[in-house]
C-alpha cells in the first residue's frame, strides 16, 4: 500500500469519495508522520490528535452518508496565528502563554465546515514578524530541504515557516498561512511548495491575531497548484465580522486550471533585476518567461518605478500598525502577566518579558514613527509612497497586462543562525524585496516552485495579479507547474 501522506488533496479527495481509503486512515498516517518527524523539524508546536481523530471519524460518517464537504477528511495544519477554539493559539509568542480562545477564526471555521480535519498548530515567527521562523518563542523550524551533500540546517523562511515545512515534509495535506510582506510566498519558495496570498479582503481576518491590519491576508500553502486552488476556495468567504471582507462571490479556482494562455499578456518588470542577485535567480526568471511564451502568452517589458521604495515604506507602515495592534497585550486580559509596583510597571515588565527582540524592535519603530512631530515625516510620507506603488501596478494593468512574473526571493534558503543576517535586521528585511510591493498594493501574489539552484535547493517564481483575479494566477501557475514539475525533498528526518 502506498504511503497515504504522499497523496495530494485532489488525489485523497477522489479516494475518500470512492471509499478506497478512510478519513481515519489518512489522519492516522499524518499523525504518525508528525510523530516521527517533528522532533527533527519542529514544524508543529501543538499536535491535536484527539481532535483530529474525532473530526476524521465524523468525516467518515459524512462520507458514508453521502454528505461530504469539499475538503471532507483532508488533514490540515493551522498556523498558530489563527484562533482555534479551545486549542493552542499564541502567535508563537511568550506573551500569549496559555491562551486558548473561546472562538474560532472565520478561515478555520470555513475549513471545518467543508469537512477538513485539524492536525495541530504550526510554528511561525512571533506575531508573524520575520523571514526565517527564528523569532518564534518555540525555536526555529528546520527546512526539510538540505543542500546537496550537506547536513547544515536551513531555515524554511518565514513567517509561515512551520506551514511551509509541514507541507514540504508531508506532515499535513496543506496548511493555512498568512502574508503581511511575503510570509506565505517566501517560505513557499524556500521549500518547493505553492503559496498564494489572495487580494486584500478575499479572506476574512476575523480571528487572526493582527500584525499590520492594512497588509495582513490569509492564504494557503500546498503541494501543487490544484491543491492551492482547492484550499483557497474553502478559506475565502464574505464575512460580516471583517469590515474589509469584500462582497464578491468566491469563484471555483480549480476551474481556472488547464486554460490557455493565448492572448494573455505577462509583464516583466525591469525593476526586479536587483544588484547582487545570484545568476541562478535571473536564469530561473528567463526560464519562466520562456515557458509562458511557449504556452502562447505575450511577454511585455514593464516598469514599476517605485518598486525600490516599497520595502522602506513597509518598514514604516507595518511597524506603525503593529505598535497599535500589539498594545492589547498588557497582562490584563490574556496570557502572561509579570507583577510590578503599579499598573504601568506591570505593563512594562509584562511586555519586556513577553515579547521577543524582533517584536520589541518593531513596536519601538512603530511608536516612534507615529509619535508627535514625526507622524507626517514618516507615516504620512510612507502612505503617500504606497499610493504611488499601487499606481505603478494600475498603470501596468491598464496597459493590458494580465499578470506579472518576477522571482519570488533574492536567494534560496539560508542557514539557521546566519550571523550576518542576525547582526543586521535590515539585511533580513531584504528577503521580502520582491514580495512586499504586492501587500502594499493589496494585490494577489503567488509563489510557485520552478527549479533547483546549483546546491539543489528550491527556487520559486512569483506571479502578481489584478485585484480579485486570482483565477488568472492559477491559470498561469498551472502552466509553470506543468513545465517545471513539482519538487519534494528527500527524506533525512
Amino acid at each position: 500500500m502506498t504511503d497515504l501522506t504522499s497523496l495530494t488533496i485532489a488525489a485523497a479527495r477522489d479516494q475518500l469519495k470512492a471509499r478506497t481509503i478512510s478519513a481515519t486512515e489518512l489522519t492516522e498516517a499524518y499523525l504518525s508522520a508528525i510523530d516521527s518527524a517533528n522532533g527533527a523539524l519542529n514544524a508543529y508546536i501543538a499536535v491535536t490528535p484527539d481532535k483530529a481523530r474525532a473530526m476524521a471519524k465524523a468525516s467518515d460518517e459524512r462520507l458514508a452518508s453521502g454528505k461530504a464537504g469539499a475538503l471532507e477528511g483532508i488533514p490540515l495544519g493551522i498556523k498558530d496565528l489563527f484562533a482555534t477554539e479551545g486549542e493552542h493559539t499564541q502567535a508563537c509568542s511568550h506573551i500569549l502563554d496559555g491562551f486558548k480562545p473561546r472562538y474560532e477564526s472565520t478561515v478555520t471555521a470555513n475549513l471545518w465546515k467543508d469537512g477538513a480535519v485539524m492536525l495541530g498548530k504550526l510554528n511561525m515567527d512571533e506575531f508573524a514578524m520575520g523571514s526565517s521562523n527564528e523569532s518564534s518563542w518555540y525555536g526555529p523550524v528546520v527546512n526539510p530541504w538540505r543542500a546537496r551533500g550537506s547536513e547544515e540546517k536551513l531555515v524554511p523562511g518565514g513567517s509561515s515557516g512551520g506551514s511551509a515545512a509541514a507541507v514540504a515534509a508531508r506532515l499535513c495535506a496543506a496548511a493555512t498561512a498568512t502574508d503581511t510582506g511575503g510570509s506565505i510566498r517566501q517560505p513557499a519558495a524556500f521549500t518547493g511548495t505553492v503559496g498564494i496570498k489572495p487580494t486584500y479582503g478575499r479572506c476574512s481576518r476575523w480571528g487572526i491575531a493582527a500584525f499590520a491590519s492594512s497588509l495582513d491576508q490569509a492564504g494557503p500553502i500546498a503541494r501543487d497548484v490544484r491543491d492551492c486552488a482547492i484550499m483557497l476556495k474553502s478559506m475565502a468567504s464574505v464575512d460580516k465580522m471583517d469590515t474589509t471582507s469584500v462582497d464578491l462571490p468566491v469563484p471555483d479556482y480549480e476551474a481556472a486550471l488547464g486554460k490557455s494562455l493565448k492572448g494573455r499578456k505577462i509583464g516583466i518588470p525591469r525593476e526586479y533585476r536587483v544588484d547582487g542577485m545570484p545568476g541562478e535567480i535571473e536564469a530561473l526568471w528567463q526560464q519562466g518567461i520562456a515557458w509562458l511564451k511557449d504556452a502562447g502568452a505575450e511577454i511585455v517589458d514593464i516598469s514599476l518605478p517605485h518598486t525600490k521604495y516599497a520595502l522602506p515604506a513597509y518598514y514604516i507602515v507595518a511597524p506603525a500598525e503593529a505598535s497599535s495592534n500589539l498594545a492589547r497585550y498588557d497582562g490584563v486580559r490574556y496570557g502572561l502577566r509579570v507583577d510590578g509596583k503599579d499598573i504601568a510597571d506591570m505593563y512594562e515588565k509584562t511586555r519586556a518579558a513577553g515579547f521577543g527582540k524582533e517584536v520589541k524592535r518593531r513596536i519601538m519603530i512603530g511608536t516612534y514613527v507615529l509619535s508627535a512631530g514625526y507622524y507626517d515625516a514618516y507615516y504620512i510620507k510612507a502612505q503617500k509612497v504606497r499610493t504611488l506603488i499601487k499606481r505603478d501596478f494600475e498603470l501596468a494593468f491598464h496597459a493590458g497586462v494580465d499578470a506579472i512574473l518576477t522571482p519570488a526571493t533574492p536567494s534560496s534558503a539560508f542557514a539557521i543562525g546566519d550571523k550576518e543576517l542576525a547582526a543586521d535586521p535590515v539585511k533580513m528585511y531584504l528577503n521580502d524585496i520582491f514580495t512586499v510591493t504586492v501587500n502594499m498594493a493589496g494585490l494577489p501574489g503567488m509563489a510557485i516552485p520552478a527549479g533547483l539552484d546549483p546546491k539543489g535547493l528550491p527556487l520559486g517564481l512569483q506571479l502578481i495579479g489584478k485585484p480579485f483575479e486570482e483565477e488568472t494566477l492559477f491559470t498561469v501557475a498551472d502552466v509553470i507547474e506543468k513545465a517545471a514539475g513539482t519538487f519534494t525533498p528527500s527524506k533525512w528526518w
Binding site: 521604495y309 490584563v332 504601568a344 524592535r361 519603530i365 503617500k384 499610493t387 504611488l388 535590515v426
Partner: protein
C-alpha cells in the same frame, strides 16, 4: 533622522516596554539602522499625492445599531491571568 539614547528610552516608555541595562544602547543602533534604511523615501516626490487610506476602494461597511452579541462574561475573562467574579483584576490605580 536618527535617535539618541534619551529618545530610545522615551519611546520605550511610550511603548510600555521596560528596557534592561544595555538594551537601550543596542536598540539605539538597530533603530538607527532601520531609520537610515527608510531615509531613502526622502528621494520620492510626493507632491499632490494622497496618502493611502484603503488598498481597495470600498465604502466602510456598517452594521445595524443593535445588540447582536453578549452575555458571555465568563468566556471573556476565561483567559485572564487574574480575575474575580467576571472582573479583570489589576493593581490599584486610584488612591
Amino acid at each position: 533622522m536618527s535617535v539618541d539614547l534619551a529618545t530610545v528610552k522615551r519611546v520605550a516608555r511610550l511603548s510600555r516596554i521596560a528596557l534592561a541595562d544595555g538594551e537601550a544602547e543596542r536598540m539605539m543602533g538597530e533603530l538607527n539602522g532601520i531609520l537610515g534604511f527608510v531615509e531613502q523615501l526622502s528621494e520620492v516626490n510626493v507632491e499632490g499625492v494622497e496618502p493611502m487610506t484603503s488598498v481597495t476602494p470600498m465604502a466602510m461597511k456598517k452594521r445595524v445599531d443593535a445588540v447582536t452579541d453578549g452575555d458571555k462574561a465568563a468566556d471573556i475573562v476565561a483567559n485572564a491571568p487574574v480575575s474575580e467574579q467576571n472582573f479583570f483584576l489589576v493593581p490599584k490605580v486610584v488612591e
